[in-house]
Structure formats: C-alpha cells, structure tokens
Amino acid sequence: MRSVALRRMAASLVVLWAVATGTYALVSLAPGDAASRITDPRLPAAARERWRRDFGLDRPLRARYLSWLAATVRGDMGISWQHRRPVRALLAEALPPTALLTGLGLLTETLGGLAIATWQAMRPRSRVDRALTITSLLAYAMPSFAVGMGLVWVFSYALGWLPASHMLSPTAAASGWARLGDGALHLVLPVATIGLTGMGALARYTRGSLLEEQSQGYVLAARARGCSRRRAVLTHALPNAALPLVTVLGLSLPVLVSGSLLVEVVFAWPGMGQLLLQAALARDIPLLMGGTLVGAAAVVLGNLLADVSVSLLDPRVRP
C-alpha cells in the first residue's frame, strides 16, 4: 500500500511538471506578448521593446523557462506582470472567494440533485417524475450565465431582494455579524446559479442509477422481506447508486480552485476564474503559470481523493 502511494505521488509530480512545462511553452510560443497591450500608435517600437526587456522577454525561451522552474521549485512564483504583486499573494486572495462560491455551489448541487433523484426514484413514471425530468433537462441545458442573469433580473432588479454582484456592499461594515450577513446575501444568487445548473445533470444521472439499483436482487430481496420502497431506496439502493458520484465529485474538485468563469463574470466575483482570464489576456506568464500549477495540483489531488474514497467505500475495487 505504501509503495502504491509513493508511486502515485511520483506520478503526480511528473504530471505537474509536464502540465507546467507544456503550458509555459504554449503561452510563450503563442504569438503576442505582454507588450501587445500597448496599443497607442504614437509610441515608437523602442517603448514596447523596453517593456519586453523589463519582463525578461528579450532572453531566450530556454533561459526564461529554467529561471522560472528554479524559482518555482524554491517556492517563489514570481511577481505578476499585470498587478506588480507576488503571484502567491494574488492566488491567496482569489482562492478563498472561489472555494467558498464553488464549494457552496457544489454542495447545493449535490444535495439538491440527490434529493430530486431520490424523490423521482420513489415515484418512477409519475407526473411529478416526468415534470422533474423535464425541469432537470432544462436546467442542465441552460448555460450558467443565462441562469445567473435571469436570477439577477428577478431577485435583484425587479424585486430588489438580493444584491446583483460582488462579495460585499461598498458600505459593508468592517467586521462582525453585519458584515457576515452582507456576505451571505451576496452569496445567494451565484451559489443558486451554480447549484441549479449542476443539479439537473446530477439528478438525471443519479435517478438512472437508482432505478437500475432498484431492479437488483438485493433491493428486491429487501422489498420481499417487507421493507418499504422509501426505506429500500434510501438505505439500500442510494449508497450503491451514489458510488459513481464520488468519482464525479472528485473530478469537480478542480473547479473549487480554478473557479467558474462565467458565474464569476456575471456576478463580478473576485475569484480565480476572473484573475486567470485577465492574466491570459494580458499574457501575464508568472500569474498564468501560478494558476496553472494550482489548478493542475487540484486535478491530481481530486483524482487521488476520488480513487481513495471509492476504494474505501467499495471493497471490490481495493488493490
């Protein structure tokens, strides 16, 4: 077991290095660079060249890459070219809002999806089941920005109940319950957007698994022993049907750190998605690479956690 764990860790490091190297090469070799942002036609070519030199872009690619790699290994992610601040500080600022938003979104999505699927599985082919199936499909098919904008129009602009964007009001208190309450109100609409759009897919997926499990011998045997349908679904079928969901949720972990870009844009949420989009547009290589490394680490960790969880829950897949 220990050697398996060591092998997985070594493989993870190789994956991280490969992702980082590939991304560095792609971003550096793509046409354009940080100086492309200077568009004033009055400025001579020399001005842009000075920018390139200041960011080290006049050095050969291999030298730049090796410097970056050596610094990264030492834990120094460099200074963002766009924000003139340490990349580590920028990521540390953007990660908590993203984790909070997507974490609550995933929780809403999971709990909501499971509840709907269970409800449907206990009343298959009923009117409610059909109605929920259509609703789930609609939610699944709707792009998240459209759902977000719809919610904003209704609950913020028309009814005025909830704030339309940001994490806090400009007049929010500096600390205490008032600030917490203000933050909670700002979370409602973006969390609902992520939850509603993800809930549909999860409900569709789990409903199918639950119906399949209900036709299995162990569920039929439980029913034959006089177990109610509700109890058979909740205590027998659901734990087995939920197993594949662990893998799905494990794979969702990267979203916790890389963010949900469209939702962040619609709600002006100061998270990782927006930060990395701006970095990509500005060709801010240090920031882009920092974000890539964190995202890749989350993918590796998510996979690892999913594998471990499944093997703990299902003895059949243990090594």
Partner: protein, 530 residues
C-alpha cells in the same frame, strides 16, 4: 518682450476656479458616487501603466498635472489652465519655460508638493530603466532647473508648437515617497501599498478585483463635493446597465451603443453622448501585391457602404470618417468629405487595374490569381465582428472575396507587427496633439509602429517633416491640411468611423463628463436628493 511669447495663466485660473468645488457644496453629508469599471485598476503609478484610458482617468483623480488641458481642441490646439502650476512664461527664444507652482499643494503624507517632485517626475519619465512610455515624448526637454521650492525652469533643446503639452503629459509623483524605489525596480514594484497622492481624492480602501474606494481629500486646493467615489469592478456590460437601472450604481463611463436606447427610456438615468477620439479604419497591407495599387485601395473604399455599416453597428452613435484627423479636431481639413459609396465606380477601377472575373465564378482574378483577402479583427470585439461581416458582403458584390477571421488580441498584434495580414479592422484613440507622423509617415521599422500597414509616400514624409519644424499654428494647420489631402488621395486605409462615447448616469448626479476626460471637473460633481 514679445507678447505672443508670454503665456501667463492668470486669466485661465479664474475660469478654473469658477468650476472648482469651492467649498459651497454639501460635502460631508454622505455624498457617494458608485462608478462601474469593466476591469480593476492595475496600477496607480502612471509610469507602470500600459496607457488604458479609463485607468489614466482614475490616476488623474489622485495625482496632479502641471496644467489642466482644456477641452477646446475642436477650435485650436488645446489651451491650458492652471493646476499645480499657477504661472508660466516662455523665454524670448522659447527654449526655456519658467514655471511657478502653487504653494498650498500637499501630498497625502503631509509633505508639500515642490519643484523637486516635478524634477523627480521628469527623471522617471525619461528613465529607460523605469520602463517609461514617455521617454521619446520628453526627449526635447533637456532638463529641469529648480530655482526654489516652488519655481523651476524647463530647458528645451528645440522650439516646436507642443512644448507646453509635452511638458504637461504625465502626472507629478511624490519624490519623498517613491524615490526610495530605484527606477530599475519600478516595472515590478507595488506602489499601491501606502499610496501617497495629491488629488481631489485619495485612496481609502481597496479589495482587489472588486472595489476601490476613493475618499475626498480635504487638503486639496480644489476640494471635491463628493465624499466618496466607489469604483466597482463589473466586467459584464449587461450587468452594469442592469445595476444602473436598479439604482445600485450611479455612473457607467462607457455604454455599448445597443444599450443606450434602453437606458434613455428610463426616468432615473441620463445618457450623454459626445464625440470620442476613437478613429476606426480598415488597414490594408501595402506589402500585398494587389493592395499596393492606390486605385485598388480606392476601389475597395468605394465598394464599402460605410454609412450603412456605421448605422448598423453604432446605431447612430458614430459618423463616417473622412480622413486621418477626426472631424472634431481643430486641425481637420474641412474641405475633405468621406468618399462616396459607389460600387459601380469601384468595379470600374478594379477592371482598370486588371482585375476581371475571367472564369465567371463571381470572384475577380488577375494573372490566374483570385482577389482573396483575409480580414482580421480582435476576437473579443463583437462590434468589429459585425463590421467584418458587413465589409465581407459589400466586397463580395464587387467580386472581392474577404474572409473574416477573429483573432486573439495578442496574436493579432503579433501578426500586425510581422506584416502577416491582408487587412485588419482596427481603431486607435487620437491624441489631442495632432501627430500624423507616428501613424502615416514612412516607418523606419514597421514592428511596433502606428504605420504597421507599410504605407509610404515621400511627398507626405516631406510635408510631415515640415510640420515638425513649423514655427506657428497657422503654418502647422496648412501643412496638416496638405498631409490629410495626400493621405486621403492614397487611401492607405479605408477610413470607417469616428465613434461617440456614451456615458450614462443617475439623474441624481449633477456632472459634466466631456470628451477631454471622463471625470473632467469632477470637483463640481455632486448628487441631489431623489
């Protein structure tokens, strides 16, 4: 002393003081203006900035310039009113400018603003190490001689019409706070920590990527009537409009034309549009064999229905451009008008240039080569995407096959610099300093130049060289008119549009945004009760 050489700003001072928040307004009673900005401010140090217009407008709220450029560029080269400088006077040979600074200007850390700050700023502007974008612009200013704390002499190496403007460009920064950071570290230094400023506002708090709050600086010589200016980052234009209508924000500096009509229907919102300095054009690559012929370029311009394009894309918030100088500028040659939309004449000119549809496929050809063009535009710009389709349709009617190609901005700039394109839909912000040399003179090196399309006309180069040496404004105006005529005759690009800037704000706000600067005269802005 020759009176025309004396530029004393006392009269203009009176004009500015009239518009200055003179303390009579209701400040101190919670006057707050919430402004939507599409992206966060990256730096408050102008000498680190890539020159984005809105960022510069925000920096202008925190740092002073020597003079206040007036929005009178429609009639003459911009005049200047006092700001940090109260008086200025040229020497008889115009090679030295004596400037007197106001004595009541104070940095937010309590230090006085002195001539040493101005000298330090010029050093930063001329520093290649600092990565300054002002190096070339300040080249004619040899140096600054400090006479006393509030008086200095600026020495010029030559005489030219824009001496005052070149000295004024760029904000004065605090030597007492920023000189501790060597210029070599400026490109990567964070100046936001403990920001020292001297403007009508100062930094109160900041949550990156979300909100920056500026508060009124009570020590400023022209105190603002607003207590707080809240800059909210709202990347989505539709969300900005929705929040303005819902009363959650008060000011949008740039409204897309498609939203202007909807906003105008609201009783709680005012929409103001005015000529911006954005000139849009379709640049033809002069290295392309077909596009080297000016008759062909003229034909392509005649083939494009620019009035219809402007109406369809800008919905009445732009006009067709006639040439390289905006029609709202003092230097515009009023004898020029846009070339007409004339597909028949376009076809005739193309046939004259040897382009015929010899195989009957609807596409012109010459020497076995079809007239095909790739039309690049920035992928993130939906208005240019719309224009590209309209241009494609118009050119197809005269037998030219144009393929619109959305291109990532960095990649687009790289292809422009490398000359690897046929045509690019682009635009640039014209400066109030009319300088045709940077965009239209033969470029020694095309990479990074305004003239990335490779246009060259020796006669124009001679005229533009004369403009640089012109002693007075009337001679400059005549030379610029000649230059415009030569450029329009050559049609190195197809001039498409002069856009308007649309600003929307709460009807509670009393404000006067104008084409010079979106926050111009902000000291007098204030909110009235609903």
């Amino acid at each position: 002393m020759n009176k025309t050489l004396r530029l004393v700003g006392m009269a203009a001072l009176a004009a500015v003081l009239e518009g200055c928040g003179d303390g009579s307004g209701p400040h101190g009673v919670g006057q707050e203006l919430i402004v939507a900005i599409p992206a966060d401010v990256e730096t408050f140090n102008e000498y680190q900035s890539a020159g984005e217009a809105l960022e510069n407008a925000i920096i202008d709220l925190l740092y002073p310039t020597l003079f206040e450029e007036q929005p009178d560029f429609t009639e003459r080269p911009p005049s200047f009113a006092p700001r940090l400088a109260t008086e200025w006077q040229f020497s008889p040979d115009r090679r030295t400018l004596r400037v007197k600074l106001r004595q009541d200007a104070v940095w937010s850390n309590g230090f006085r603003v002195t001539a040493d700050d101005v000298r330090f700023t010029l050093m930063a502007q001329k520093s290649e190490e600092a990565g300054s974008l002002f190096v070339e612009q300040k080249a004619a200013i040899r140096g600054l001689e400090v006479l006393d704390s509030f008086t200095f002499l600026a020495h010029y190496s030559r005489v030219y019409p824009y001496q005052l403007m070149d000295l004024n460009d760029g904000h004065i920064v605090p030597a007492n706070a920023w000189s501790a950071t060597p210029f070599s570290q400026w490109p990567h230094a964070d100046f936001t920590k403990e920001l020292v400023s001297c403007g009508p506002f100062r930094l109160a708090s900041r949550i990156p990527q979300q909100t920056t709050i500026l508060e009124r600086d009570p020590h400023h010589w022209c105190p603002a009537r607003l207590d707080r200016l809240v800059l909210r980052v709202i990347p989505d234009a539709a969300a900005q409009v929705g929040q303005l209508l819902a009363g959650q924000i008060h000011f949008i500096p740039m409204v897309p034309p498609r939203d202007a009509a909807r906003l105008r229907q609201s009783d709680t919102v005012k929409v103001v549009s005015y000529p911006s300095r954005l000139l849009g054009f379709l640049a033809w690559n002069h290295r392309h064999p077909a596009l080297q012929d000016r008759q062909v370029r003229r034909a392509l311009t005649l083939a494009i229905n620019r009035a219809a394009l402007v109406e369809a894309v800008y919905l009445g918030h732009a006009k067709v451009a006639a040439g390289p100088v905006l029609s709202s500028m003092w230097a515009f040659d009023r004898t020029l008008s846009p070339l007409p939309f004339d597909p028949a004449e376009a076809r005739r000119l193309l046939v004259q240039a040897g382009w015929r549809d010899s195989d009957g496929d609807g596409i012109l050809d010459r020497d076995g080569k079809r007239f095909e063009l790739e039309l690049l535009y920035p992928a993130t710009n939906p208005m240019r995407a719309q224009m590209a389709v309209l241009v494609q349709a118009d050119l197809a009617r005269v037998g030219v096959a144009a393929s619109p190609r959305p291109t990532e901005f960095g990649a687009l700039m790289a292809r422009q610099d490398a000359g690897e394109f046929d045509a690019v839909l682009t635009a640039w912000e014209e400066a109030t300093k009319v300088d045709l040399g940077s965009g239209w003179a033969t470029a020694a090196e095309q990479a990074g130049s305004g003239n990335f399309f490779g246009y060259s006309n020796p006669e124009l180069d001679r005229v533009l060289a004369d403009v640089g040496a012109a002693p007075d404004i009337e001679r400059t105006r005549a030379l610029l008119a000649r230059a415009q005529q030569l450029i329009v005759a050559d049609q190195p690009v197809t001039f498409l549009y002069e856009a308007q800037q649309i600003v929307a704000f709460s009807s509670r706000l009393r404000a006067t945004p104008n084409p010079a600067l979106v926050f111009f005269d902000i000291a007098s802005w204030h909110m009235v009760p609903p």
